[in-house]
Amino acid sequence: MAERLHGLLARFPDADRLIAASRDLRECGLSRLDAYTPHPVAGLPEALGVRDRRVPLTALICAVLAGAGTLALQVYASLDYPFNVGGKPVVSWPAYMIVTFAMSMVGATLGALFSMLLLNGFPRPYHPLFNVAEFDAASRDGFFLCVEAADPRFDAERLNQRLKQHGADRVWEVPS
C-alpha cells in the first residue's frame, strides 16, 4: 500500500446481503460506512444508522416563511396604498390566500430541492470512489459498501475477510 487509501469498496450480489453486512459492520463499531445502490433500498439507511430529517424540516420552515412573508407583503401593500374596490375591506385577507398558498408551495419546493442538494454536498465533481472503474455499476445493477480508511477501527486485512464472509463478490482498495 504505497499510496494513501480512501477505503475499501465491496460489491454484493443483492440488497439483502448488503443490508446484513452494513448492519454487522456498524455493530462492530465502524462508523464511516456508506452503501451505494441503483435505487433506494428500504432498511438500508437504518442499517447504516442514517437518521436525518433535515430535508422535510427545511421544506416546512421555508413554506411557513414564504407563506407568512407573502401574506405580510399583501397586507403591507394594501395599507401602503389603500384602494377601495366596490367597498370591500382594505385588508381583504380571504382574497390573499391564493397567492399565499402558491408562494408557500414554492417555499417548500425550493426548500426541499436545495436542502437535498446542499446536504448531499452537491455539486461535487470529484470523488475518490470514481477511481474504481467498476463503481459505474452502482447506477446500473451493483450493490456496494464502502468503509473509509479514516475510520478509527479501520483494518484493511480483517475488513476484507469480513466483507467476503458476508458474500461480497469482490473487494477493491480505493486510492484517495
Partner: protein, 450 residues
C-alpha cells in the same frame, strides 16, 4: 406476486433495463422517424414564431378580440395547455403517493410534457398583454411609481399560480432526473457525453445517504403536488368564475376545470406513450396494459366533465335568470353553435368509446380517442371563454368575434413548439425513469420493499 403477471412490469433485469433506456440517449444512432418528426415539428413551430413576431409588431388586434370578447384564443390556449400539464403532475406525484406501480414507466415523459405545456401556457397571457415587455408590473417590487399589484384580482392570482407551478414542475423534473443523469454519466463512453451528463448529475453517487434525502425531498414534492394539481387550474377558473358574467359565474367551475384538465392531460400522455413505443420500441416498457390504464383514467375524468355539462345547464335554467338561459340558447343555436356541438360530439358521444377495453388497448383506437379528447377539451375552453362574454348582461355591448388566421397559426405553431421541445427531450434525456423502474423491478421480483 410473480413478476409481470399484469403486464405492467417488463421482463428485464435491472442492468438490461438501464442499458435499454441509456442506449436511446447515448447511442449514436437516432431513429429516422425522430428526424422526420423533428423536422415537421420545427416547420410547424415556425408558425408560432411568425405569429409572435406579427402580434408583437402590430399589437393584439391581430387576434380575433374585441370588447366584450377581450380574451379569445390566447386565454383559451392558456387554459388548454395548463390543463394538459396537470396530468403530468398527477401521474408523477399523486399516483406515486397512492403506490400505483404502473406510473413508473410513463412518469418521466409525463413530467416532461407538463414542463413544456406550462411554458406554452405561460407564453399566451404574456402575448395577450399587448405590451409583454411590461409584464414585470405583475411582480410586487419596490418602484418609484408607488404601484402594487392588485392582490384582490384573479389575474394576479393567476400569474402567481402559473409561475409557482412552473417553478414546482422544473424542480420536480430535475429532482427525478438527477439519479438518471448520474446513470447516463456512468454509461457514457464519449468525452462530451461524460462531461455534459457529469456536470448535470452534480456528483450523484447513489449513496444510501443521497437516496434517503432524495426520497424525503421527493415525498415533500409529491405531497405538495396533490394540492397543486387541484389549485392551479382551479385558480385559473376563478379568473372566470369570480367575474359577474353569465356563463362564467358558476361555483362548479374549479372542479369542472380540473376534471377537464386531467382528461386532456391523460389523453396527451397516451399520445406521447404511443410515440415512445413507436420511436424507441418501448413496447415492453409501455405495454398495452399501460395504455388500458391511461384510457381508464381518461374515462373517469370525462365522466366528471359530462356531469359538469349537465350541472351547468341545470344551474342556468334553475336560476330562472333570462341571461343565463340566454347563454345556453345562444350556445345551442347561436353563431358559435358548431363549436358547442363539436364539443358535445367529442367529449360526450365519442368519448364513450373509452368504455371498451378493446379500444383502450389498441394503439390506433386509443390514439384516436386521445386526439378526440384534446380537440374536445379545446372546443370546451373555446365555448366557455367566447360564448359567455359575447352576450353578457349588457345587450348594447353584444358582439361576435371570429378567430383570425393569426389565431389559428399561433395555436397550431404552439403545438409544433411543444413537439420540438418534447422530441429534443426524449433524445437528450432518458424518457423512462431508470431508477424508478429499477426500484419497481426490485419490489416486484425480489419481494424487496424498495
Amino acid at each position: 406476486m410473480s413478476a409481470g403477471d399484469d403486464g405492467l412490469v417488463p421482463d428485464l433485469g435491472r442492468g438490461a433495463l438501464t442499458d435499454r433506456v441509456r442506449a436511446t440517449v447515448l447511442g449514436r444512432r437516432t431513429p429516422r422517424a425522430w428526424f422526420l418528426a423533428l423536422g415537421l415539428a420545427t416547420l410547424v413551430s415556425l408558425l408560432f414564431l411568425l405569429g409572435v413576431v406579427y402580434v408583437l409588431s402590430v399589437g393584439v388586434g391581430a387576434f380575433g378580440l374585441n370588447i366584450p370578447v377581450a380574451w379569445g384564443f390566447p386565454i383559451i390556449n392558456t387554459i388548454w395547455w395548463i390543463g394538459i400539464a396537470h396530468a403530468g403532475t398527477l401521474i408523477s406525484a399523486v399516483l406515486w403517493l397512492t403506490r400505483q406501480d404502473w406510473r413508473a414507466s410513463i412518469s418521466r415523459s409525463a413530467e416532461a410534457m407538463a414542463m413544456f405545456a406550462i411554458v406554452l401556457a405561460g407564453s399566451y397571457p404574456l402575448l395577450h398583454l399587448g405590451r409583454p415587455w411590461l409584464a414585470y408590473y405583475l411582480l410586487p417590487y419596490p418602484n418609484l411609481m408607488d404601484l402594487w399589484p392588485q392582490w384582490r384580482s384573479p389575474l394576479v392570482w393567476d400569474f402567481f399560480a402559473i409561475a409557482s407551478y412552473l417553478l414546482f414542475t422544473a424542480s420536480f423534473l430535475y429532482l427525478s432526473l438527477l439519479p438518471d443523469l448520474a446513470s447516463l454519466r456512468d454509461g457514457a463512453r464519449r468525452r462530451f457525453q461524460q462531461l455534459f451528463y457529469g456536470v448535470l448529475a452534480l456528483g450523484w453517487r447513489n449513496s444510501a445517504r443521497h437516496w434517503a434525502r432524495y426520497e424525503q425531498a421527493h415525498r415533500v414534492l409529491a405531497v405538495i403536488a396533490a394540492p397543486i394539481v387541484v389549485s392551479v387550474t382551479g385558480t385559473i377558473s376563478l379568473d372566470l368564475a369570480v367575474s359577474i358574467v353569465p356563463g362564467f359565474h358558476f361555483t362548479i367551475f374549479p372542479p369542472y376545470f380540473v376534471a377537464g384538465a386531467l382528461y386532456s392531460g391523460f389523453a396527451t400522455v397516451a399520445i406521447i406513450a404511443i410515440i415512445l413505443r413507436g420511436l424507441f420500441g418501448f413496447r415492453d416498457l409501455i405495454t398495452r396494459a399501460h395504455l388500458n390504464r391511461l384510457g381508464i383514467m381518461m374515462l373517469c375524468f370525462v365522466l366528471v366533465v359530462d356531469y359538469a355539462y349537465l350541472q351547468e345547464i341545470f344551474t342556468a335554467f334553475y336560476t330562472g335568470e333570462a341571461f343565463y338561459r340566454g347563454v345556453y340558447f345562444d350556445r345551442w343555436t347561436g353563431p358559435y353553435a358548431p363549436y358547442y356541438w363539436g364539443m358535445i360530439l367529442c367529449n360526450v358521444v365519442l368519448a364513450q368509446g373509452l368504455w371498451f377495453r378493446r379500444l383502450r388497448e389498441s394503439v390506433p383506437g386509443l390514439l384516436s380517442l386521445a386526439v378526440i379528447a384534446d380537440i374536445g377539451m379545446w372546443l370546451e375552453r373555446f365555448q366557455i371563454v367566447i360564448t359567455s362574454t359575447h352576450k353578457d348582461y349588457m345587450p348594447s355591448a353584444w358582439d361576435t368575434v371570429r378567430p383570425t388566421a393569426w389565431d389559428w397559426l399561433t395555436y397550431a405553431g404552439s403545438i409544433g413548439v411543444f413537439f420540438v421541445l418534447l422530441l429534443l427531450f426524449i433524445r437528450l434525456m432518458p424518457s423512462v425513469s431508470m431508477h424508478d423502474m429499477r426500484a419497481l423491478l426490485h419490489r416486484r421480483r425480489e419481494g424487496g420493499h424498495g
